[in-house]
Symmetry: C2
Subunit: 305 residues, 2 copies
Amino acid sequence: MPEHFADRLIEAVQGRSTPACVGIDPLIDSLPASLVPTERSEQADLEAVRRFCLDVIEVVAPVVPIVKINVAFFEPYRAPGIQLYDDLVAVAHSAGLMVIGDVKRGDIGHSTVQYARAHLGGDGRHPCVDAVTVSPYLGSDGVEPFLVPARRHGRGVFVLVQTSNPTAERLQGLELTSGGTVSDAVGGLVAEWAAADGLVGTSGYSAVGAVVSPRDVPSTRRLRAAMPRCTFLVPGFGAQGRSVEEVATCFNADGLGAIVNASRSVIYAFQGKPADAPGGWQAQVREAAVEFVAQLKRMHSERRE
Amino acid sequence: MPEHFADRLIEAVQGRSTPACVGIDPLIDSLPASLVPTERSEQADLEAVRRFCLDVIEVVAPVVPIVKINVAFFEPYRAPGIQLYDDLVAVAHSAGLMVIGDVKRGDIGHSTVQYARAHLGGDGRHPCVDAVTVSPYLGSDGVEPFLVPARRHGRGVFVLVQTSNPTAERLQGLELTSGGTVSDAVGGLVAEWAAADGLVGTSGYSAVGAVVSPRDVPSTRRLRAAMPRCTFLVPGFGAQGRSVEEVATCFNADGLGAIVNASRSVIYAFQGKPADAPGGWQAQVREAAVEFVAQLKRMHSERRE
């Protein structure tokens, strides 16, 4: 297994023949009814979340190469929630998955060093994700400390560039006197970080990627051209609904350069369906993951035509 | 005690006659030599961090009204670190301090709801800080979910507007075609959130504040004028060194509207001093906190002259 993050990611994507990533955002009130505890307590809820996530990981592991675990859904449970997040990282690794920690951290330099240590560690004392998401609002020293473990331990960093939420435009879409938008300027910074010494793998792709939710085809093309070495983490397939053409624009001509995430449309695929269906809710999650992979495959073959 | 965050904050500041806040950023390698364990392990390190923080809280509680605890320094210890962070929040509250959780969270809407639940909770199951810092890169839905517990449970939210780190300008300082910089635009958004229904206290100040590190007098005046109802959390007094005039500009004419944070210059005041001084390292931390308060007092009296 090559040590560089992007090289490992490409190997994983090619191994499963899909750039699909399943996002694990567990909410107690959205779990299958059979899992929700009858006597509710924080501990019982967290145990239900654990059982749900373990099954989701087991079911999607043969179908997709990557899971993204969002720590926001674990922090309300405080210390035991963080313990569960760490446990799931280890379980997903044992199942052969690559793991992105969706943590969106970012602070001034000496604090970011601590976040980088916490989340891309490498001291072997805790399970450690393969890559994290980070926020660029603090500038270079909110990101660069993450590049140290990226280099040293073959980890990856996805910098938020253009997000999928409705009001992102109020900041990210602001027009600059120098041309383009705030997202374009962040894209420029990301391209610079991505090209830094020791961060580009033998594949030509960098350990520094970007979270890019395609807003429209022209702006996505612009971001794609600005960050040629970066893998895009494309959120919001399914529940947040992007068009196939928009998502296709996130890929490079080599068919690489993007991984596509779906969270709710896969992990909550059982909602509104009969609870006594054969194979239970797990079969419905599996089916949704398979359908997600098929959709991406259709997108790629349409694009080639 | 009034329920509204800004009203409580003003009462606390007036009770101690100072807007000083001490930042708790504990690093094992910066602790007094007497605390560093001879046999290093993660557990032993964390125990040393606990003893250090407990003493710092005890020593500064009679001097300042507020502490800011940065969760970045606890996350490398994973679950036990988060447990310690929560324990310290409870201890600081028992010591009569208000507590700001420096967490810099921010995500898309439904994930931010979880961060808001985690950090401004209000379900009474965990110790809960009085206010948090949040990142604006995701736009309104990265911030607005925090306003729900702010309203409901009398909590506060400090949105990052202009930070103190050297490279912040690369994003925050970008010039907009609509005039001003990205920081100015975020200031405008913050002013809008701050004025929303149910967020302004009887003091006239809002539960929504802003992290503003004064870069120069004109830009600080502009931000001050743009966010009249907002308390500024001013970082970087001491170690990150801002001029007195720059910091003074963060206050409104009523002498309110800002709290000023010093972290390393207070909690590591013992560094480079004899370890056997009377009162030990705790006396040096206390003295630094007293001197920090005196500096702010001199600043205010110079300003009035």
